[in-house]
């Protein structure tokens, strides 16, 4: 993607900070040179110490392309991390970091792409999927979407109220929550790890088999979820994955 390719480092100011869950906080960045992006793309963030040492990480964009110039990154605090503890413990509104983007041309969805769409996210793996869900809502797209979102507990369901609000519209967006360490709270939700039966039922909420499936999360989650999708009859060519962690 040439636009991704040509974007050099630029400064971005933290314009807002919003705690999402006990472990995830959203940071809103105002780039000095705003850019267009696609739902599912990411940015690289670069931090520089006084002696010139630099650390860089990739973070998926959570905001919709329609959200304006401000980029939302929902960052999970990793206790043994180097960059995420800086954001959680040090960064504040008004601080500047360096940012580069948008990046990535594969794990992306546009409302002009065909549906139905199956999204499967584990933990903070929901972030790029949230950009797609928000993009669909902003465009008032009629593409049918099912989002299967696995979290450990109810309070760790990132964007929970917003997602349930979108689900309540009954406009073709279906939210399927599954909690791995607590009982389900809603009648249509689950309390177990993602499996084939859950994928079959999620696909059943769509009017037709998904044309595209996006799976994002830890490596173990993506391996299990992608295999469950294949076992549920989804062709491997339809499935796009994004993984993080070891």
């Amino acid at each position: 993607m040439s636009e991704a390719a040509q974007s050099p480092w630029q400064t971005a100011i933290i314009s807002r900070v919003e705690k999402r869950t006990p472990r995830v906080t959203s940071f809103f960045f105002q780039p000095s040179r705003p850019f267009a992006y696609l739902a599912g793309q990411h940015v690289d963030v670069r931090l520089t110490a006084p002696d010139g040492y630099q650390a860089r990480r990739s973070y998926s964009i959570a905001s919709a392309p329609e959200a304006g110039e401000t980029i939302e990154l929902a960052i999970e605090k990793l206790e043994d991390g180097e960059v995420s503890p800086f954001f959680h413990d040090v960064a504040a509104v008004g601080d500047e970091v360096e940012l580069r983007g948008p990046l990535g041309g594969h794990f992306v969805w546009s409302s002009s792409d065909e549906g139905p769409l199956l999204l499967v996210g584990g933990g903070s793996g929901v972030v790029p999927l949230m950009s797609m869900v928000r993009h669909r809502a902003a465009r008032k797209s009629a593409v049918a979407v099912a989002l299967v979102f696995s979290a450990r507990i109810w309070d760790e369901v990132i964007f929970r109220d917003e997602l349930i609000g979108l689900d309540d519209r009954k406009d073709g967006f279906n939210l399927v929550l599954t909690l791995t360490r607590e009982p389900a709270r809603r009648p249509s939700d689950y309390a177990r790890r993602v499996d084939v039966a859950m994928m079959v039922q999620a696909i059943g909420r769509l009017p037709a088999p998904p044309r595209l499936a996006f799976v994002c999360g830890s490596n173990a989650f993506v391996s299990a979820a992608a295999q469950a999708l294949i076992d549920a009859g989804i062709a491997p060519e339809v499935i796009r994955t994004e993984r993080y962690g070891v």
Binding site: R46, L47, A49, E96, Q227, I230
Partner: protein, 202 residues
Amino acid sequence: MVTRGFSGRRPPTDNDARIPPGQYLEQGFPVLSAGPTPRVRAEDWSFTLKHGPRPIKKWNWAEFNALPLSKMTRDIHCVTAWTKFDTPWQGVLVDDILADAGIEPPTDFTLAHSFDGYSTNVPTKDLTIGKAMVALLYEGKPITADHGGPARLLVPHLYFWKSAKWLTGLQFTARDEPGFWELRGYHIYGDPWREQRYTNDP
């Protein structure tokens, strides 16, 4: 631009010479791929050498494993910014594949092809004279499916997306033809020491 309040957790300085700019040291072995993990059985695997559309030679699993096995222990560098030291691989050097086919490299460019349709381009000179292999073992054991088993390309001096997983063949091409990620915003060459991550990086 110094980031307020950031001191970083830099690696020990004696490692500086081994860590390319913008990379951090990783002890685990992260997995990255564009799609689900293909499960390729050794008995279904084959490796084809091509010049353009024309097959030069094809090996099945047993034939390929009968080629000379070499060891390479190398530092690897992923474009997502992790670097892993001293990864131990065994496999067949591209030199030995060419020797078995009885050819010299016919063109300056090569496309590596994978079982799942992935492809990546590497200049031919970056594959020969001991620089690259088709790896069959990691830490002395068969490579797991997540890491590209049964066979993956290993081009350790370039960013690791060039080391295509689930390899099914190498194809010599007349021109430098971008592969899967190179068509999606990633650098055509990918030298970690020059930080050639994305298209148009210098």
